[in-house]
Point group: C2
Chain length 398, copies 2
């Protein structure tokens, strides 16, 4: 166990998008996910007050507990829902009087659970966690995994289980506890989101199989558009399942085509790495794959008028767009074509905003967990009060 | 040889739409085509003037020749392009001074070719053919085959090769000569269009195979929208071919899915015939298939912003639409849902018209060749002068 650092730290973790293969992955097909330039930024201040405080202004969570009141479950590695009943009852007791919505409540519960597992028996350690996020919440962009990975990093550092977040072993540890927090929040997550939030880059995956890092994967410019149309993932997943049951001979080859799109994406990055294709050729292939994948998803019944409008607006400038995640609304991703002038991108962004959508110009496949010591002018107060736009702009210069 | 009829006749023949499988059919997959409610109406008046006259006001063709000047090729059944050079030169001679566009010129040439093949050596027979069509020309709706089938019927009746157009043997004969006219016009047609124009109903077909009549096929209400966006069929076909070459493992299963859509369509009509599904269930299946087929075609790169707009407008009222034919503009077909009030349909038609498209409310899978004796008030003058709207409305009451 190493000595905890005492300077305030800024920890950040990315969100994720599914690049190819959503829905098909439910039917044992290959999918590809990548980290997103939109991130959670977490301020960590350690002290000796014996008080643990969590503050998430974007989702109205603010709570603190005395470390002495938090039950301990040191080194527990099981599923949080399988923790001893007595322990769970104690945590529930600590949550009494917290009347937040279920998802906020679960974020606070995950904080308590990780402290219970990671804090040594006798310590006067105290800490303040404050997080902001440029990720829209509940939009299928892995905002909770991004929070979970940043929080796991903060607590592992605070309680001295790791001394940095840059070596592979520490990242594996962070990912394990980020997954535990995700289990508190989601019950039975796949582990993909926390894995991308922790390691960054891109991963391919098949249900029940391991996540494979995409060889040669590199960061890409991206427009991410949130239609803000609410949808139910479970209803959409069931709809595709029903279509497959009704039209098996039609839907099965469509899912196979999606499987091959994911495989082709992996292959394209590998060929780029081997210099077998140029950057421009790589982008052109990804654009083709994005377009075909969307059409297949549309055929499976999971597009939406709003997503088609995003495709029409971006398509007018030759930008290829697909839905990402569950569909039926939610988010769309667009590959920014090679050499497209920023002025054109601004026009598209303005058109998307005029249509009522939130459009983020960001990137794909960037870093996972990062930590940095805060410098003057980048204090917690600024972090807490900055607008989302300020946050995006200024934080990138840290 | 039977005695030619002498009362003026109205002959009509339908256009065709591809219901499922366009483009995929180029790659040996199954497709389904059906007759269209939009038709060519041909007025036939026989006389003893020895003059053969053809008048197609919609495409500005008006020409007449003395029968004695037309070379004969009696009972010739070979490809028109393989006819003796001397014969072809004579026909070309008759076309001197005709400065129409290529397609009009070919319609007149087909008229001469069929007369050459069908007219006996010594006859004072004369005839007037006047045709109108409610089919847009060059929109992939089989307008030339519809004209060819009606003309073949007219000339076969005039020269006494058939005595009616209602028995199967006569229809086979009509189809053979309609195909010959199509060969004059198109060089190397598949024979599908003339087959649908002659027999009506719906046919499934696979390249190089026979056309199969769809068992249990029944007429369906349809909206047909002409985007009027010009496109090159050969460029679009080549585009799909190139995509298949670049992404074989992705495109091949997409084409397989389309193959299975056509097969499912056949199966659905058969199940309806056997009363295994209700009319409403049949329509619901066809709507699903239309939607999926369009998305697959879009993924193959042959949709167009105009077609997507037609889908958006019709989709708002729950009407499923797909491109039909080559895509890239051209026409879209929409299945009219079970029980949709006419008022709603009118609203959609008005919206499509406001967007600059021609929308026809018509049907699918109706009769092939029909003949009827003209009655008072339905004379050739009326036929020639009626607006397209009048034509559609009044002719249906004949």
């Amino acid at each position: 166990m190493t000595k905890p650092s005492s300077s305030p730290l800024l920890i950040s973790a990315p969100g994720k998008v599914i690049l190819f293969g959503e829905h098909a992955v439910v039917h044992q097909k290959l999918a590809v996910a990548a980290s997103l330039g939109l991130r959670t930024y977490m301020y960590l201040d350690q002290n000796t007050s014996g008080v643990c405080r969590v503050h998430l202004p974007d989702v109205q969570v603010e709570a603190s507990w005395s470390l002495a009141d938090i039950p301990r479950l040191h080194n527990y590695e099981g599923h949080p829902l399988e923790a001893p009943a007595e322990f769970k009852a104690k945590l529930d007791g600590l949550m009494k009087g917290h009347t937040e919505h279920e998802s906020q409540r679960k974020a606070a519960l995950a904080f308590l659970h990780l402290i219970a597992v990671l804090a040594p028996a006798n310590t006067e350690q105290g800490l303040v966690l404050r997080a902001r996020s440029t990720l829209p919440v509940g939009a299928g962009l892995g905002s909770s995994a991004s929070f979970s990975a940043a929080m796991a990093t903060a607590l592992l550092l605070t309680f001295g289980h790791i001394s940095s977040a840059s070596d592979p072993a520490s990242l594996e540890t962070i990912n394990r506890y980020a997954f535990m927090a995700e289990q508190v929040i989601h019950g039975n997550p796949s582990g993909l989101d926390n894995s991308v939030a922790t390691f960054g880059g891109a991963k391919s995956f098949r249900r029940g199989g391991a996540f494979e890092t995409l060889e040669g994967f590199q960061s890409l410019d991206l427009l991410l558009t949130n239609t803000k149309v609410p949808r139910s993932t479970s209803v959409l997943v069931a709809g595709v399942g029903a279509k497959k049951t009704t039209y098996p001979t039609i839907v099965e080859p469509m899912l196979d085509a999606i499987d091959q799109i994911s495989a082709r994406c992996k292959d394209a990055f590998l060929r780029r790495k081997q210099n077998a294709i140029s950057q421009q050729e790589l982008l052109a292939e990804l654009e083709d794959l994005v377009d075909i994948n969307h059409c297949l998803l549309h055929g499976l019944g999971v597009s939406h008028a709003s997503l088609e409008q995003v495709r029409a607006i971006t398509g007018e400038r030759g930008i290829k767009t697909k839905l990402t995640g569950a569909g039926g609304g939610g988010c769309a991703l667009s590959i920014v074509p090679h050499g497209l002038p920023q002025k054109e991108i601004e026009t598209v962004k303005a058109q998307l905003a005029a249509a009522g959508y939130d459009c983020y110009q960001t990137s794909l496949g960037g870093l996972g967990i990062t930590t940095s010591v805060l410098t003057a002018g980048q204090d917690e107060k600024w972090l807490m009060e900055a607008s989302r736009e300020d946050l995006e702009e200024r934080i990138l210069t840290i």
